[in-house]
């Protein structure tokens, strides 16, 4: 895993305190996922891939906290998170349904530093995201664009159907195209006339998309836990160095 010099660089020693954030804009990404663009006075900046803790407070003082990946690049104005509704969930239906511009919530971060990438870290990059797991990978690609980097980057995005294809239009238009390839797989429902991948990510798909193990790509895999388990295992079995496989698991066992 990463050496001490890298740790220092990725861990700005600004205290991780709660800050009041104001919702500047909401963007409906899919019928069940929404991006909140937040103004966070005093935000110390972040590295693509890091996350924040969000805290909500009810009128009687009751509080709930959850983690959300930062979807915006470090260069973007405003800090964006993309929240996928988990039916029956305590926090996600509120953030993705109720919150509107002008609302305030508390947030702290940036948190993490292993699942993080800067242009200066170099490539090639292999990004594999499932559902809302695309959020921190999007931050990396937005950072790559803002830096006009041509580092080789491959994204494999796994979504249920066309309606769930987070950031699809932006990814289609993303530059610089040089070195960038984006592939989608639709696990349940495919777009009309689709000739690309369908079904869950498997060894064949990864072999077609990923730079070969000899190219030593930095791999970032993010999404629901079973998705990340499967993809990380496949990458190791395909010969990728386990230490180069960075995983962000969004939590539930999904059993």
């Amino acid at each position: 895993m990463a050496g001490a010099a890298v740790l220092e660089r990725l861990t700005p020693r600004v205290p991780v305190t709660w800050r009041v954030a104001t919702v500047r804009a909401v963007v409906d990404e899919t019928p069940t996922a929404r991006t909140l663009v937040l103004d966070v006075p005093g935000w110390p900046g972040h590295v693509a891939g890091q996350h924040v803790d969000v805290r909500l407070t009810a009128e009687d003082g009751y509080q709930a906290q959850r983690s959300y990946s930062i979807a915006s690049g470090p260069e973007d104005p405003g800090l964006a998170i993309t929240v996928q509704v988990v039916p029956g969930g305590e926090v996600s239906p509120y953030l993705a349904g109720e919150a509107r511009p002008g609302d305030e919530l508390e947030l702290r971060g940036p948190i993490g530093g292993f699942f993080a990438w800067r242009v200066a870290d170099g490539g090639p990059l292999l990004l594999v995201g499932g559902g809302s797991g695309l959020a921190p990978l999007m931050a990396m690609l937005r950072h790559r664009r803002a830096q006009a980097s041509t580092v080789e980057a491959r994204l494999l995005a796994s979504v249920r159907g066309p309606a769930d294809a987070l950031y699809r239009a932006e990814l289609d238009a993303l530059g610089p195209r040089e070195g960038l390839r984006v592939a989608w797989t639709y696990t349940r429902e495919r777009p009309a006339g689709w000739t690309g991948f369908t079904g869950r990510v498997d060894a064949g798909m990864l072999a077609a998309v990923a730079p070969p193990p000899e190219a030593a790509p930095r791999c970032f895999v993010c999404g629901p836990t079973p998705f990340v388990e499967t993809v990380a295992d496949l990458l190791v079995r395909a010969g990728h160095d386990p230490r180069a496989v960075h995983a962000e698991r969004f939590g539930p066992t999904g059993s």
Binding site: M1, A4, L7, L10, T11, R13, P15, V16, T17, W18, V20, D53, R55, L56, T57, A58, E59, Y62, Q63, A64, Q65, R66, S67, E90, Y94, E98, A99, D103, E104, L105, E106, R108, I111, G112, G113, F114, F115, T225, E229, A232, D233, L235, V236, P242, R243, V245, H246, A247, R249, G251, P252, T253, S255
Partner: protein, 201 residues
């Protein structure tokens, strides 16, 4: 005063004693998995557990030797820094007191190290006195690889990242050195009751 989140109701649990839930935590019925890399899969016959560092004679056990030691079954509450807590989890394993029995050391700290390169640091006094185990059985079944099997450190009174999955040994040390997450800004000690999540907490 934190801002009120307009229209936020929250989901208050009425079926559990709130005194069992540390600040900022919520209860989950399932067992989420959070780890930074792929899941290592070391078969028990290739597994050993070592105690090294500030110790005259390093100690080492094979899987069979570990299982031959006195076993303890404990029911404990666990708390993950990503906010979930799980109550009444049942584990079987060997107490660190058993493994450290008779050790003379000047060390006040330990670093637990694991397959896959993971490390975490703890004060020695947090892993002695009946507060830490090398656990190989969860809920009566062999511990699954994604939860740290064949064996993980279990230190339930600290956030669960201190309970190193896939543990292979501890190094006794005089100096305190940050482990993996501690180096990325997580708290050095990690007491959930004091909400010690990040270094500045």
């Amino acid at each position: 005063m934190p801002p009120i989140s307009r229209g936020f109701q929250g989901r208050r649990r009425t079926d559990v004693d709130p005194a069992r839930i540390p600040p900022g935590q919520y209860l989950t019925p399932d067992f989420p998995v959070l780890s930074a890399g792929p899941t290592p899969r070391t078969p028990p016959d290739a597994w050993t557990f070592s105690i090294d560092g500030a110790i005259d004679e390093p100690r080492r056990w094979t899987w069979a030797e570990l299982l031959a030691l006195p076993q303890e079954t404990v029911t404990v509450d666990i708390h993950c820094v990503t906010k979930w807590s799980k109550l009444d989890t049942e584990w079987t394993g060997v107490s660190l007191d058993t493994l450290l029995d008779g050790v003379e050391t000047a060390a006040e700290h330990v670093v637990a190290w694991s397959d896959g390169g993971y490390t975490t640091n703890l004060p020695l006094e947090d892993v002695t006195g009946g507060r830490a185990w090398i656990a190989h059985t969860y809920d009566g079944e062999p511990l699954a690889p994604e939860h740290g099997g064949p064996a993980r450190l279990l230190v339930p009174h600290l956030y669960f990242w201190k309970s190193a999955k896939w543990v292979r040994g501890i190094t006794l040390s005089v100096e305190d050195r940050p482990g993996f997450w501690e180096g990325y800004g997580y708290h050095n000690h990690g007491d959930p009751w004091r909400e010690q999540r990040y270094w500045s907490d």
